[in-house]
């Protein structure tokens, strides 16, 4: 039986979610001439740069050290000379400190210190190794992975879920990774399970990726405690809360973390990065990202962290049409970029280019109470009512009616026939409620 959750939508059905352009494109390596690496790619305090202009750095060398409790280091993703260290406008609201490195083309690694094989690596050292490798959630959340791997006092975890749902539109990076490098993913999962002393590992994949399901099932054959869960193809199946609900039939309590449902979720790409860090000692310096939409050769690229959008788009053949909007991620939750000089980060699973026509804002019309948003909301809120409260500027009322449980998945806005920007409204309201402590 296919696992699922209540609510949700089937976005871009007529386009097959936009994945058709790239799902059969093998991963291609791409190394740019120059990278510009932000030091604030993860959630938490930005790391502190420890190199200066003119320094020569090797591939994988630490260029910024962790700050604060949940900080992680940042590594050079090419070898070469540091050109600049300073603020640049990235995806955030304010400028980020970035370290710019000119690639000397040698790809000369620093000395690596692997921990050992999947079975021999000492379990108590894995978490530190993951931290030192600068790994954070590669599905988009950018939460430092080693924190997730440390179970706080009084909590327990019985299941690790690897998220291979990839329910977002257009993206095929995780799909290709599962198809081409299943061993890295399985190794990563086994290392996580050993480090956290958890005996159940589940790799969850949507049933629109039948080939990936088959490959992963082969890769885990003979391994105890690990299985593949087949999910119904539906957005937002890969949303952490929906995924946990579908796979374990447990819900993450409102305002709590997945660990309160005794589950920890990692993206498949994160698991692969963890395997590299432990088995080969390699820090996180590259990732697979899908570059698609209005580009000449839509591709799945393995790019170095800090590659500019411009370089990545050129690696995919350049623009095929005059671009009107470019976002990092799929069309449901992707973040718009102000210009193509912005860098790809550890969490960046895709670049989608829309043409001028598709970028035009749809003019909203009055709500007709059709109930599409109510049906779609995976958090089981009443978006129509919340929107009416927002029109009255009633933030307290919105909070009372659970707007803080909104995951900003965009399902309500997507289905709205009146084209009302429900999701954007709730995102703004949530920010206001947090800031003003309503």
């Amino acid at each position: 039986m296919k696992l699922s959750f209540k609510g949700g939508i089937h976005p871009l059905r007529e386009l097959h979610e936009g994945k058709g352009k790239t799902h059969s494109q093998p991963i291609r390596d791409f190394v740019p001439e120059r990278v510009c690496i932000p030091v604030d790619m993860h959630i938490g305090t930005p790391s502190a740069p420890c190199v200066k202009k003119g320094d020569l750095v090797k591939l994988g060398q630490v260029i910024a050290t962790p700050v604060g409790g949940i900080g992680i280091p940042v590594h050079a993703s090419v070898s070469g000379e540091v050109i600049s260290v300073g603020p640049r406008q990235m995806l955030g609201k304010t400028a980020s400190t970035c370290i710019e490195i000119a690639n000397d083309g040698k790809d000369e690694w620093v000395e690596l210190s692997p921990l050992g094989s999947v079975d021999s690596a000492p379990a108590d050292k894995i978490v530190q190794q993951v931290k030192d490798a600068g790994i954070c959630g590669m599905g988009g959340a950018c939460f430092p992975s080693h924190i997730k791997m440390m179970i706080p006092e009084g909590k327990s975890v019985d299941t690790i879920i690897l998220n291979g749902a990839e329910c977002e539109t257009f993206l095929t990076a995780d799909h290709r990774l599962m198809l081409e490098e299943p061993q890295r993913i399985v190794d990563g999962l086994r290392l996580i399970m050993r480090a956290m002393k958890v005996s159940t590992g589940i790799i969850a994949i949507e049933d629109n990726k039948k080939d990936a399901i088959k490959v992963m099932q082969e890769a885990i054959s003979g391994l105890e405690g690990i299985r593949v869960a087949v999910l119904k193809t539906k957005y937002p199946q890969g949303g952490e809360k929906q995924l946990i609900d579908a796979v374990t039939k447990r819900q993450v309590p409102s305002g709590a973390l997945p660990i309160d449902a005794q589950v920890v979720v990692f993206n498949v790409g994160t698991a692969a990065a963890i395997a590299d860090a432990v088995i080969h000692g390699k820090p996180l310096i590259s990732r697979v990202t899908t570059v698609t939409g209005c580009v000449n050769t839509p591709s799945n690229l393995r790019v170095r962290i800090g590659t500019s959008f411009q370089d990545a788009i050129e690696a995919a053949g350049g623009f095929s049409e005059d671009p009107g909007k470019i976002f990092a991620g799929g069309s449901m939750t992707g973040l718009c970029i102000p210009g193509t000089e912005v860098s790809l980060t550890k969490a960046n699973n895709g670049i989608v280019v829309l043409n001028q026509k598709d970028a035009v804002k749809k003019q909203p019309t009055p709500c007709i109470r059709c109930g599409r948003c109510v049906e779609a909301c995976p958090s089981r809120l009443n978006p129509q009512f919340l929107n009416a409260l927002n029109d009255l500027s009633d933030l307290a009322g919105m909070k009372k009616h659970n707007v803080m449980d909104c995951t900003v998945c965009g399902s309500c806005s997507y289905v709205c026939p009146a084209k009302i920007e429900l999701c954007a409204t709730f995102k703004e309201a949530k920010e206001k409620i947090t800031a003003r402590r309503v």
């Binding site: 409102s254 035009v360 019309t365 109510v374 995976p378 958090s379 997507y414 009146a418």
Partner: protein, 314 residues
């Protein structure tokens, strides 16, 4: 390069208010065609006047009150057509005109336009006409033609008035009830056409099955309890038309599924009660209108469990 910035989602469903209304109009095609076939050109005139005056009223009101003109969303066309289908074919042509004006101006636009009316515009207009000109509104006519082959009703030469089959149950065969060879309003008589429209709307996802099925089902059960013939009760009068095309009006029924279930069963019970007490031969109009009025209360009283509202795991 100037790039547009916005919060996701960046690509939206193709469905719009206009496409939804167009789907309702497509679903009304079989009923409209059957009505015109059965009752002749008089019916076509009633429908045409109803639609044209509904659109005209909306356009003029929005123009004069300097609001955005929204006639292209087709909702006025739907209102006008549904009102027309709710009238007897013999209605004088000023009746659909007045009805549409009431529906659009009084019920819809004065309350703030599309999405703001608290009762179904076409239905309230029908209610006003029914209360104002009861004689003209409650005398039904036998269709001028028959659909299919029948032995009971002769292919009429002149339209003659007759009691509705609700008053004289058992007078018509099921076949005639289904095909529409019975007295009634233009749209309500041909049940086959209504069912085709219902299936179309289910298929394209315009509506869900809950409201029509539970509404009609409740009436059937009530009739059975009171010793009547459930099938005949369902196929008589305006029940099917009301349940499929009027109770399902988005604006005037509850938002949550649980609310819609209460709404539908409430409609069914009211129809049963009105038919039982024989205060009116036809209770569907007032049943739905009453439940329309209760909709805000139902919305207030119903809720569903939000994700994560669970007891914390150990």
């Amino acid at each position: 390069m100037k790039l547009r910035l916005s919060t996701g989602p960046h690509l939206l469903n193709r469905e719009s208010t206009q496409t939804l209304m167009l789907d309702v109009l497509i679903a009304l095609v079989p009923t409209t065609v059957a009505g015109i076939y059965l009752f002749g050109t008089k019916a076509a005139w009633v429908l045409a006047v109803a639609v044209v005056s509904a659109v005209l009223c909306e356009y003029l009101f929005q123009k004069l009150s300097k609001r955005p003109v929204r006639v292209m969303d087709l909702s006025a066309v739907v209102t006008g057509l549904i009102l027309g289908l709710n009238l007897p074919a013999e209605a004088p042509l000023w009746m659909p005109a007045i009805g549409s004006a009431i529906a659009i101006l009084l019920v819809k636009e004065l309350f703030g336009g599309i999405g703001q009316n608290f009762m179904n515009p076409a239905l309230l207009a029908r209610g006003v006409l029914l209360a104002s000109w009861p004689a003209r509104m409650s005398v039904y006519y036998i269709p001028a033609r028959v659909l299919g082959v029948t032995e009971v009703v002769p292919a009429g030469t002149d339209v003659i008035s007759a009691a509705t089959p609700l008053i004289r149950p058992g007078g018509y065969q099921l076949y005639d009830l289904l095909m529409g060879n019975i007295p009634g309003t233009i749209g309500e008589v041909c049940k086959i056409a209504i069912l085709i429209g219902f299936l179309y709307m289910l298929f394209v996802g315009t509506i869900r099955w809950h409201i029509p099925v539970l509404f009609v089902g409740t009436v059937a059960v009530m009739t059975w309890i009171m010793g009547g013939d459930p099938l005949r009760a369902v196929l008589s009068g305006g029940l099917l038309f009301g349940a499929v095309f009027m109770a399902t009006d988005y604006v005037t029924n509850p938002m949550l599924k649980v609310g819609q279930v209460i709404f539908a069963i409430g409609c069914g019970i009211l129809v049963g009660v009105i038919r039982m007490t024989k205060a009116y031969p036809e209770g569907v109009t007032y049943a739905i209108l009453l439940m329309n009025i209760l909709t805000p209360l139902i919305d207030r009283w119903t809720s569903r469990r939000v994700y994560g509202m669970v007891k914390k795991h150990a």
